[in-house]
């Protein structure tokens, strides 16, 4: 099982989409440095969790893995929701592109996301950020 290649299949499109924004938005994936959380500027936190990773498949030459992607978009509080939604749209657009990409021949990860839950928005009283959150399930097939 190659968890890292599955992570990369989802993290790279997200990072690329956020880097293409103007200005680019920093993205922090799992196991990030704690100091980033105290920032008051905008950033995106992405957590990828694995659910069922041992499902039996009919064929032996690939692994079938399910899990969840949780994105939290932090933008400065008190400046409206437009920027937050722009960032969310960039990431969900990257997911749509991923879903429309056909499987490459040979070995590799064939990554798909399921329906997106959210976004929901929250502006916690004691915190400097306006937070947009959405999550979706993913299905990845790893061909060896």
């Amino acid at each position: 099982m190659n968890y890292q290649s599955i992570r990369a299949a989802y993290e790279v499109p997200i990072a690329t989409a956020c880097a293409a924004l103007s200005p680019a938005v920093p993205v922090f994936f799992d196991n990030l440095a704690a100091s980033t959380l105290t920032s008051t500027s905008e950033y995106v936190m992405v957590n990828i969790t694995f659910g069922l990773t041992t499902e039996v498949a009919l064929k032996a030459d690939f692994d079938y893995v399910r899990g969840a992607i949780i994105c939290r978009v932090h933008t400065p509080k008190g400046k409206g929701s437009a920027r937050n939604q722009t960032i969310i749209a960039a990431i969900t657009g990257a997911f749509q592109t991923l879903n429309a990409t056909p499987r490459a021949a040979g070995a590799g990860v064939y990554a798909r996301v399921n329906q997106i839950d959210g976004p929901t928005f929250d502006a916690p009283a004691d915190l400097p950020h306006y937070i947009g959150r959405f999550s979706c399930g993913f299905i990845a097939s790893v061909y060896t």
Partner: protein, 175 residues
């Protein structure tokens, strides 16, 4: 033993309701297993209600709750064409499910957690499960983002299938 065909519709309805109830119980126990458990209050606040209805509050304040069919009364499943949702009615459910940043609860009871705890440091702005490091003043009794992991990571559909199999397996009149 053969059963008169005139009972078919009633039998089908009965077994479908039973399967739905069994599935709810299976899922709610799955949520207890996957979710956090400090006092146990959150684990006791899962309800199956028609979509849009408000759930009740926690059923008890200590120990992990174990659901059975009594928590999902058959009378609630008599109406057809209704969507049911499983929701948590604990006051701090959003925090427990990592949907909003962690907020310290001054009313949180002291004492030993009912589930094993991991320790670490929870930065400001972080959710309940976002602990960094292994040593720190903060604790967590469920992995970060346990809720989406359960609901879309495959465990929910597994519990759903198991609940329906169990519920339909107890059907009478179909042998």
């Amino acid at each position: 033993m053969a059963r008169d065909l005139k009972f078919l519709v009633k039998d089908l309805k009965d077994v479908t309701i039973r399967a739905a109830r069994t599935t709810c119980v299976q899922i709610m126990n799955g949520l207890v297993e996957a979710g956090p458990g400090y006092s146990g209050e959150f684990s006791s606040a899962w309800y199956a209600v028609p979509k849009g209805d408000s759930p009740g509050g926690p059923r008890k304040a200590s120990g992990l709750y174990k659901y059975d069919l009594r928590n999902v009364p058959a009378t609630k499943f008599q109406t057809s064409g209704i969507w049911y949702t499983i929701v948590n009615g604990a006051p701090h459910a959003d925090v427990a499910m990592d949907l909003t940043p962690y907020v310290y609860d001054p009313d949180r009871p002291d004492g030993k957690a009912v589930k094993p705890q991991t320790t670490g440091y929870r930065p400001a702005n972080a959710t309940r499960g976002q602990l960094t490091g292994s040593k720190g003043p903060n604790t967590s009794t469920a992995p970060k983002d346990w809720w989406p992991t359960y609901s879309v990571g495959g465990a929910l559909s597994k519990d759903l299938a198991r609940g329906f199999r169990t519920g339909f397996g107890k059907a009478t009149g179909f042998s």
